[in-house]
Structure formats: C-alpha cells, structure tokens
Subunit: 161 residues, 2 copies
Amino acid sequence: MRAAHKAKDKPGMPADNPYIQSLKQAGYRLTQARLTVLEVLEAEHGHITSADVLKQVERINPAIGRASVFRTLELFTQLGFIRPTYIHTSVTPTYVMMHGGHHHHVICTECKRFFEFANCGLDVLKANLQRELDVQIRGHLLEFYGVCADCRGPSHAEQKA
Amino acid sequence: MRAAHKAKDKPGMPADNPYIQSLKQAGYRLTQARLTVLEVLEAEHGHITSADVLKQVERINPAIGRASVFRTLELFTQLGFIRPTYIHTSVTPTYVMMHGGHHHHVICTECKRFFEFANCGLDVLKANLQRELDVQIRGHLLEFYGVCADCRGPSHAEQKA
DNA sequence: ATTTATGCAAAACTTTTGCATGGGA
DNA sequence: TCCCATGCAAAAGTTTTGCATAAAT
C-alpha cells in the first residue's frame, strides 16, 4: 500500500501534522528521511534512542542512510521538536518529544521505565524567570528521578519480579 | 571553614564534603581518581562536559587514566551526584551537579550560556507524583530553553530591566 | 531549473573492556 | 592482608564528513 497517486500524500502521516507544518514554515523541505524519522518518533510516543530510530528507519525504508537520520535528529532538536536526554547512561541519547515545547516525566533509575505527566504548574516560575533573567523562554524539560513500586520489590523485598 | 590537617586530607577538598561522605557511606573507596574528578566538578561549578573533565583531570594528575574518569563519572551519576545532560547537541554530555538531589537552570539555545536558579517550587508536584505513581522520588532536573537578551540583539532588547 | 538534502563509506571521536597490578580500608 | 579500583591500550560503538547525485519546491 503506497499512496503515490498524489505526490503529497504520505502513509500514516496527516498533512496537518504540526511538526510538518513547522518544518515547512521554517523553510525546510519535506523529505523521505525527515518524514520517516518523524513517523518513527511518533510511533514510539516520543521516547526512543538514536540507535532505535536508526533501526526502525532502516526497517521502514532501507534506502535512507544513517547520516540522514542523524542530520534529521539534529534538525528536529534545533527546531525544538525533540530533545536528547540521558535515560540510560549509555552512549546513545534518548530523544523525547517536546509536545507544545515542553516535556515532563518520572524515570525509574532502576528499570528505566518512565511515566509521563501533563501538569507541571511551571507557568508562574517561567514568567518570573523570563522577567528576572530577561530570557525569552521557549520550552522546558522536567525530569524526576526515583524508584518505582516494582523495583522497590513486591513486598519491599530485594527480589525482582 | 577548613578543618584539614590530618594525613588523609587532600588539597582543596574538605573532609566534610557531602559527596565524599556519601561515597564512603555507600561503601566505595576514596581514590585519587574519584577525588580529582570531584575536585574538577566542583571547580567548574558543576557544569562541565566529559571531554573537559578528561582534560582537567589529565592536567591535575596525568597518572589518572581516562577509563577511570569515565568509570567515576558513571559512579557519580549512579550515586546521584551528577547528571549527564545535552547542552550542546554534540556527542559529549555535559554533567551538572545535583545539589541536594536537584538542579535547575535556564539555557540559552543560541550561546549555550546557562543561568542556574534555586527555587523551583516543585515540592507539591513531587509529593503528588510520588503518591499517584507510587514512585519514590529522589531528585529532579528542570531545564528551561530560551534565548537570552544578548542573543536577541542589543537594540532588539525589550524595555525590561 | 534551482538548490537543498541525501546516500555512501570512511574518518573522527567518545566510551568501554579485559587483565595484571597498585593502593585503600 | 584483602580485594576494590586503577591504568593501559585496544576494541567497540556512535556520530560526523566530503562529495557526487537525487529530489523537493
């Protein structure tokens, strides 16, 4: 199944996608590589390592080179679509999507599971910082670190499930 | 407030340093490598890339190997002393110190300058998340992204103080 | 028709390992 | 003394380049 009737249609990617809008608005071209990376990011709900993006893109369209994937990841970061962060301390960054410019999650430092949440209540703080530091704030990332219930043990015991 | 006259004392590193305390308390040995990395981190006010840590440690004590520096950085991260984060999108992470388990700053996405601030007012949110998600929260990182006054241009500046 | 963006593959780096040995506690 | 942590150097990965070519607009 390929939607090649009209050049503009791409599978599984609505034309009104906000990221695509921004991309175009910023003067960048809508290429296969960018479209595919975006598709992968959205499919993974915006928590994915560079290594996995690479793998997924390769699976979806082997014709896309790794260099383009990295270039796209960098571009998306510059545009504020995503943000690299260290979930696993390993070398590969985990990219999180910055919906509306911000992202919030709690990470279990044991199993690396994450829990996203919506309300951070940082509007007042943002306004204050903006005024005090004279910095035009565009977005933010808030990460809490802790240990989840499972990792603390079913009955506070040391054994893991 | 320096209480340093005993044989075990290392230059510029008070014995009551909280990180050293935690290190020992966790059962780890106080080695030259760890002491030097800690010294570098504190000297840089806790915003430094792995590459720079490597360089500084090498300068202070060339006998310390790179592997040990990385191992120490990883250990300190596990212990919650520091946290790797992507300030520059380059490959090397920037480590920030987690004073009291948390860290907050505003980063200018243009010049990469950062502004730390103390009050985040996240106590209530933390308590709520802890209860709702049943995760024992140990710390957090809050990053705001924006453009500073200088990068917006001298004449472009607002009439804000 | 213009340029921007790409793919390829090698180059450049950063980080990790294995192992014998030195240095903390 | 015990054995954790280190140093060394090679190995393992990940990310970046340079350039001719493809493909968006």
